[in-house]
């Protein structure tokens, strides 16, 4: 045959119980982990499972994380959360995480995302788990109900796009800038494709930054984003208390040298500028200098993609010894309780609080307009979240710009979109 397999093809072949698969081939895969949150999970699954007259196929392989409606702000969100808790107890869900953070971060924090796993998530940013060398895709309600009932799902094997980055980031540049840049370069219409990130830049990134790359595969329209597992992956999982037993097998998941890609793109990280996406979609990205000076009413650091401890540290690096401008407000919703704890211990939180930031609970918060920090008509926000579709963060008449935590922090100081490099010892 002579044709090698990509990482994604290897995972799918294993999950489908066949030697190899080719793009376009339809297969049935056994799911290693199925997860959902309070909004997409129990409240949708319960009636369908009742209709089918079955329970969960394997409660140990199902994870539920309450993150969208936390903490409850009205009777309806309280009801949804109560339903999730009752469902988890009734079905003896192996992993139920209540109000400890956003699913895409909480699952890795507990070592539940394993290299080579086939992961099905009831959320469009499920590809985040691909940072660990898993195949992870998002599914609609009927699909997820069927998955938790049977443990399997069908799929068409996606083609893989490979994107290679080389060189080191300059000051004030992060994985978020890579993704905003790629949204512009590759567009958002990449359905039925997976994206694989590689190159020395990616190899040098922390797991947190790799999660950013895979999270925003969703914005590219890709069904999955992946990074091959390596020592960084193993170290993270060891620290999470769930080390990888067979590291050689995990390393062998990497795409074969003669794997066939839909396309291969190469970019230089060293020349990448901080990127800002203009309203109302993430592909409207330009260098920060193009948007500098735009007045912002709110600066928001939050979401699965943009409020991990590493993100908070980026913001703190910019804000250290400085103050949030009285013309704006800086809201910070750490992505998990663990993030808040770590930020408390290492001084990050102190730096942010002294600068004048407002601390919000861990959860999706204002990212999808569910929680605290939503916007009014005519307000302008710069946000470290992943999407800026019209109306997503509150009013349909609000404008949301996307940037890295560095860029959000810089805007907080100036009250306007600003180049973060001026606060990091490298002139723009």
């Amino acid at each position: 045959m002579g044709r090698g397999s990509t990482l994604v093809e290897k995972i799918i072949a294993r999950a489908a119980g066949v030697d190899r698969v080719a793009p376009g081939q339809l297969v049935t895969a056994q799911v290693d982990l199925a997860f959902a949150h309070d909004s997409s999970g129990p409240r949708r699954w319960a009636p369908m499972l009742r209709e089918l007259g079955v329970g969960l196929w394997d409660p140990q392989k199902v994870a539920i994380v309450s993150d969208h409606y936390v903490p409850a702000v009205d009777a309806e969100s309280a009801r949804i959360l109560k339903l999730a808790r009752e469902f988890a107890a009734e079905h003896q869900v192996g992993a139920f995480f209540d109000m400890v953070g956003i699913c895409h971060l909480v699952l890795p924090e507990h070592g539940l995302i394993r290299p080579g796993a086939f992961v099905a998530g009831g959320d469009s940013h499920s590809p985040t788990a691909g940072a660990f060398g898993a195949y992870a895709a998002g599914y609609g309600a009927t699909d997820m109900a069927a998955i938790v009932a049977t443990g399997e799902t069908w799929l068409a094997v996606p083609e893989t796009i490979r994107v290679e980055w080389s060189g080191r980031f300059g000051a004030g540049v992060a994985a978020k800038d890579i993704m905003l840049f790629l949204c512009r370069e590759l567009g958002m219409d990449n359905a039925f494709k997976a994206i694989e990130y590689g190159g020395d830049t990616v190899e040098g990134l922390s797991m947190a930054e790799r999660m950013v790359l895979c999270n925003m595969a969703a914005e590219l329209g890709c069904e999955a984003g992946v990074v091959a597992p390596d020592r960084t992956t193993f170290a993270y999982l060891r620290a999470a208390g769930r080390p990888v037993e067979d590291e050689a097998a995990a390393l062998a998941l990497a795409s074969d040298r003669d794997a066939v890609y839909a396309a291969v793109h190469r970019f230089n990280a060293a020349t990448l500028q901080p990127q800002i996406a203009a309203p109302h979609d993430p592909s409207r990205t330009q260098d920060v200098t193009e948007h500098a000076g735009i007045k912002v009413d709110q600066c928001y650091i939050g979401a699965c993609v943009g409020a991990k401890i590493e993100d908070l540290r980026m913001a703190a690096a910019v804000l250290k010894g400085r103050k949030v401008s009285p013309d704006t407000r800086l809201l910070i919703a750490p992505a998990s309780q663990k993030t808040t704890t770590t930020a408390t211990q290492d001084g990050t939180l102190q730096t942010l609080m002294e600068a004048g930031a407002v601390l919000l609970p861990s959860g999706c918060g204002a990212c999808a307009g569910y929680g605290a920090g939503v916007l009014a008509d005519g307000e302008v926000c710069i946000s470290s979240t992943n999407r800026n579709f019209k109306g997503r963060m509150g009013s349909k008449e609000a404008q949301v710009y996307l940037g890295s935590p560095y860029s959000v922090a810089a805007a907080a100081i100036e009250g306007r979109i600003a180049d973060p490099r001026q606060f990091l010892g490298e002139a723009a």
């Binding site: 609609g140 699909d143 359905a191």
Partner: protein
């Protein structure tokens, strides 16, 4: 068993198939507004067994299943397009509406009579006399399709296993 082609362009999104502002309507009523923004007569004129033909990225946008539900309720036999958005494609197949990817979808004109053999992967345009091959769905998806979609299929399977 042939049906007529209703032809649309690129980027037909799920909002056009199931408008967000009308999502509270019962499914049967919502279906009456399906594709109305691009063809006001569609819901009234489409008949059981007819086909919807699109261009690129058919079904982009929100993941709402109601887009596929409406096509299903209107009796659409299959959707044929140059490319599909993944979640719509899955939702449609799960609801028993096959999506056929065909690069030459643009050769089909409004009103053409089409015939499709899903098992073989053959589409015939009876009006122009042209035939097209596509990759057929594998047996397990054909079985799901025959049962009317994922939930009925699963129900049957689970009942059989019990």
């Amino acid at each position: 068993m042939s049906g007529r082609a209703f032809v649309f362009g690129d980027n037909i999104d799920t909002d056009v198939m199931a408008p967000g502002t009308l999502m509270k309507l019962p499914p049967e009523e919502l279906a009456q507004h399906c594709l109305a923004a691009v063809d006001p007569d569609f819901a009234r004129t489409v008949a059981k067994g007819d086909f919807v033909v699109g261009g690129r990225s058919f079904g982009i946008g929100s993941s709402r299943e109601q887009a596929a539900v409406s096509l299903s309720l209107l009796g659409v036999r299959a959707v044929i397009a140059r490319s599909f958005a993944r979640i719509f494609w899955r939702n449609a197949i799960n609801l028993g509406v096959p999506c056929i990817t065909l690069e030459q979808a643009g050769e089909i004109s409004a009103g053409d009579r089409l015939e499709v053999d899903l098992a073989v992967g053959r589409l015939t345009n009876l009006t122009t006399g042209r035939g097209y091959d596509f990759t057929p769905l594998p047996p397990h998806l054909m079985a799901m399709m025959d049962d009317g979609g994922l939930m009925p299929h699963l129900k049957k399977k689970l009942a059989g296993a019990a």
